[in-house]
Amino acid sequence: MTSPASTDSVPPQFSAGPRPAPGPAADEGLARRLRALACTAPLHDLDARKANLAGEYSVYGMAEVALAGIDLVTLNMDFDTGADHDQIVARLIPRIAAQAPQRPVAEHERVARWVLENLINVGSVDRGFRAVYGTFAPDGTYVRRDYDFKLIEEVPGPGGSVYLRTTDEAVNVLVGALDTDVTSAQIAAEVKLEVLISRGRLADAQLAAEQARYRTVQYSETLRRALDATRRNVRAVDWLNSVPDMIAEALDHVADRYRHENAILTNIRKARDESEDPEQKRRAAELVDIVKDCIRRHTQLQSRLLEAGPLFRAEQDRQAFATPMTTAGIDLYGHLVAPVLPLPLEQATRVTDAFFARGTGMRTPVSVRVGDLVDILLTPPMEREHLGAEMPEPDLIATPDDSRFSEEQLAAAKELLDLPADAPRRLSGLLAEARRAGGFDLAYLVALMSIHAASPPVGTAYRQGEEKLLFAVDDGTELDDPDFGGADLIVGTALLDALGMAADRTEAA
């Protein structure tokens, strides 16, 4: 290693011979691009390695599946958890199926799992990738360096489950350049959303809205960490300047966003109501959901911001006004963890080894007596009744089939009543036809169903999003029939606007 001072003392050598290599400044950009290039390598690798799989898999575009998978994980990850492994596989399958429709579904699923596992790189202990690239050191020597990166990482979720998250590398290189600055990225995302809505491009607007929500969650997470650190140590957080500044900034931010998102909400609602295309209506309805969620999260953030002051004072009371300690102890974080982390591995291991050797306590060594060992080895294994007690044979009694009408009759009646929407019929005609087809019983069933349709279950159909509904209306005509009396109802089918109802439901929610 040369000291940096020696290079400083050398004047710029304009007249000297050709430099052995471009300077580190020029090299840095190259290194950055090499790293970006390395991030795409695992995707190319998938297509190169699919030939090695047992079976004929060349028909699948693995890089395409992988990119779709990364997009899915990015869009599905909530800040707190991440995307669910099985859910991603399920959502990938339609695209894989489209690539080879004649292949079995099991194979499609196998491809989805193979791609996802390779993106995580399950085989390596770090579950990541490594690329080697070369740079020139300041003294002109050529150094090969390892670049370690991950595309999809597994993170612990609540309840011990494991979720998937895309890494910054994957987002930056493979999803598209996302600014890492929370505030400005959010503003950018929202401006984009507004532009998209004003141009009526709702499909892209949904993507932007989901990104905006991701930023929103990230912001409140930042605050939560600050409060957590305050609980650990009040003095770890600068409550004189930086935190009050941040809280003020965040409150401004919430007020700003709230105004902004309400404006967006009004705009989307207008877009939704004015749009004729049902697909666009549905998308707009989903967008309303997302923006509402953003507003809800902002409200949450605001209430947390308001709690921050009281929490600080309570922790201040607990931590700062306690009786001062008499001896200066070791500050484990400041004196040990923080200085150790930047050390080279070799030196850091010496410190952690010393801590481990004296910090783990003691273990009483196990000693075995030969006599005991012989006894243990000769004892026959315990017979375990893992099947449990024998179950008594259940005594089954056949219940007589006492239904008034048979399944065939119900099917026949339903077929009769499956009327086209534009041609309602009189009950008398339906009854006559039923009597011809299935005698009195079928006619009786049709009569019952028609009477039921006089008060159609509109509420249920609305909630379940049904597309059509049988109805019956009395227009005052007397029914002329040998078996039945009353009004000759008009029976017809009403078509329901399922998409419109779905939109209404989401708005009401």
Binding site: D126, G334, H335, T352
Partner: protein
């Protein structure tokens, strides 16, 4: 002292100055007390005989010296003898009771990275359990840690270092043929935090798996008590753990660090405070949770 003088005056007999001879029964009792100390999860309050021997240790100095001698002969160091911690003993270096890294986890001898990760997990657990120097010094303090919390805490510190390296434009990617020179934080940062396994257990090689192993091991040592399953398992500290970290591990690791020529700020004030002076390099404002 004055009490003793008075007492000897009234009795007019100098017998207390003559030490009573050690009987085999005394030696058996002293060894029994040390044996209790070797069962770290045993609580003195739960066992009458243990409590009785502890009382005798504190009230009968010759007996105390005898018990200390038994412990020393076995290769044990007595940290504290008190009703709250019991007979807190720990293994001296090279004693048969000492825990060796090779027995603790596989792969640690072959892979320097894994060896470091296991050691750092123990260090970080202690740092999270006692975040302030006051907490480590205060006998009544009970720390609370969670497995996922420790991992997140180390990752946050690593991220700060990564950002700092980026700010000065430093290339932290290690040279290919010198893995020992890689910065320590990178080892933790690049290991995955969790991993899916076939039987829904924690992936042993992931960082939460490594921290979880450390927490389970310390629980077996009577240093932690498991309180719940949230956040990958939550634990609270025992008096023994505080003693062990304060009197043994912390100072040993500090000595090693000083030998490496790294001198942490040692003016007694909490280093988690963001310092305004030039020593900010070593002051751990990495504890700040902000990325800005």
């Amino acid at each position: 002292m004055s009490e003793q003088v008075e007492w000897s005056d009234t009795e007019a007999s100098p017998t207390p100055s003559v030490p009573a001879a050690v009987t085999p029964a005394d030696a058996a009792d002293a060894a029994r007390l040390v044996a209790f100390g070797l069962q770290p999860k045993l609580q003195p309050a739960r066992d009458q005989e243990y409590a009785e021997l502890l009382r005798r240790y504190r009230e009968d100095p010759p007996f105390a010296r005898l018990a200390d001698a038994v412990a020393a002969g076995l290769g044990l160091i007595v940290l504290e003898v008190s009703p709250r911690a019991g007979m807190a003993v720990t293994a001296a270096e090279d004693s048969v009771f000492a825990v060796r890294m090779g027995d603790y986890a596989r792969r640690t001898s072959a892979d320097g990275g894994d060896r470091f990760l296991h050691g750092l997990a123990h260090l970080a657990l202690a740092a999270m359990a006692f975040p302030r120097p006051e907490d480590l010094a205060d006998d009544g303090y009970i720390g609370r840690v969670s497995v996922n919390g420790v991992d997140a805490f180390v990752r946050q510190a690593c991220r700060r270092l990564e950002e700092r390296a980026e700010e000065v434009g430093e290339n932290t990617d290690p040279a290919t043929d010198a893995p020992g020179l890689e910065a320590a934080w990178r080892i933790w940062a690049r290991r995955s935090a969790a991993g899916a396994t076939k039987d829904a257990r924690r992936l042993a090689g992931s960082t939460t798996g490594i921290v979880g192993k450390a927490a389970a091991f310390l629980t077996d040592s009577g240093f932690l008590q498991r309180t719940g399953d949230d956040n990958g398992g939550t634990y609270r500290t025992t008096a023994r753990y505080q003693l062990q970290v304060r009197d043994m591990a912390g100072s040993a690791a500090m000595a090693e660090l000083l030998e490496l020529g790294v001198v942490p700020v040692t003016d007694g004030t909490p280093t988690l405070v963001p310092a305004a002076d030039d020593d900010a390099e070593l002051v751990a404002d990495a504890g700040l949770p902000f990325h800005s």
